[in-house]
Symmetry: C2
Subunit: 199 residues, 2 copies
DNA sequence: TTACTATACGGAGGAAGCCTCCGATTTGTC
DNA sequence: GACAAATCGGAGGCTTCCTCCGTATAGTAA
């Protein structure tokens, strides 16, 4: 919890530059972008990059941290929303967007889920825990299939988000996520389209 | 269509060895496995590998070709089955298995779908065409959502297959695929579980 | 068998990326 | 202004990618 000592001025400056360039590189090239390239663009030696971010995942995690925290916060808020089904879906949409920011991220996150050593693992677990209460509530309300675990749900929508990003044109992700989500509602609910109808 | 000249004996031998080792390497390490390593294991120079398979996709495509053909054939057979819904699902299960043989293949296939230049593109297109009639039939029978395109369906189940492979334990893929598929049936059909009930 | 040529082999080599290590530099402080 | 701790940066060892071309070999015809 303690943030240790404050960074030296040059360290802080380089840290920021690296994050900026990494964000750009990952957006353009996906999470497999060259780290040497990131360091170069940031006008910094490769050694400096590795000191600040010992692994690629450290870098990714730092970039996503804010989004992850936002998602966790959002889950807490949505727990107070009146419609459990809409609440869950609203949260999942945000989740899907986060999981699709960088090409290749989906795979990386899924791997992190299984690997407790991964720097991303804690964030993923936090995400799952944040979601679980929303899922529980929807299931308790009888509007969502009860034979689906949180992990399955997240992985599945993650997959739908990934699939959507490979569809030509815009809105593929939202569409496929809605399709899957609708299919996971209990039968009685389906006709009532709690989710904005796809297409 | 013509197979050109027969290969020279040594060429044929190396070709086979390369395929064998590639199959093993891709199974162990995923489609990103080192090609140098494949050549080494096959007891062949790296130049030989590249002559037979100019790109990684050429190699993957050759390995999958048989499965793809099998799937296309299966589609033709299933067109004669009496239950359109079960037929479609049966086909998709096979499709899911194929899309999950090697780690990382899902991404590669999805990219190939968008890229007409890719060696895998033709195979993917053939797959889609093979599936389309099965989908049409199920939709015409009123048991499957009509607002879903073949491409969306394939990509989505591809994603479900991918998601399932990241689930701990066995049977994740079948389970998630069944979950998605069930959700895409028309409401009337859902209660009747045309698909073996997940879990 | 021998000789010849189209075919195929194989690895050197340049480019790039990964990551580590440690001498050189800079910052903050007294 | 001087000193120690913190930080920098890139050389270097390793791996992989892919190309190019001199060398080796299979198949064939005499």
């Amino acid at each position: 919890m303690t943030d240790a000592k404050p960074m030296r001025a040059d360290a802080r400056r380089n840290y920021e530059r690296l994050l900026t360039e990494a964000r750009r590189a990952f957006a353009e090239r996906g999470v497999d972008a060259s780290l040497e390239d990131v360091a170069r663009s940031a006008g910094v030696g490769i050694g400096t990059l590795y000191r600040h971010f010992p692994t690629r995942e450290d870098l990714v995690e730092t970039l996503l941290r804010e989004r992850f925290d936002t998602q966790a916060e959002k889950a807490r808020e949505l727990l107070l929303a009146e419609d459990p089904l809409k609440a869950l879906y609203a949260w999942l949409v945000g989740f899907g967007e986060t999981s699709a920011v960088y090409r290749g991220l989906t795979e990386m996150l899924a791997d992190a889920f299984d690997d407790p050593e991964s720097r991303l693992h804690a964030s993923c677990a936090a995400m799952r825990d944040a979601a679980s209460q929303l899922v529980d509530r929807a299931q308790a309300a009888g509007v969502f299939r009860t034979d689906v675990t949180v992990q399955e749900l997240l992985l599945l929508l993650h997959g739908a988000s990934w699939a959507g990003s490979h569809l030509p044109g815009e809105g593929g992700t939202e569409r496929l996520m809605a399709l899957v989500f609708t299919g996971l509602q209990t039968s009685e609910q389906r006709g009532q389209r709690a989710v904005s109808a796809p297409r």
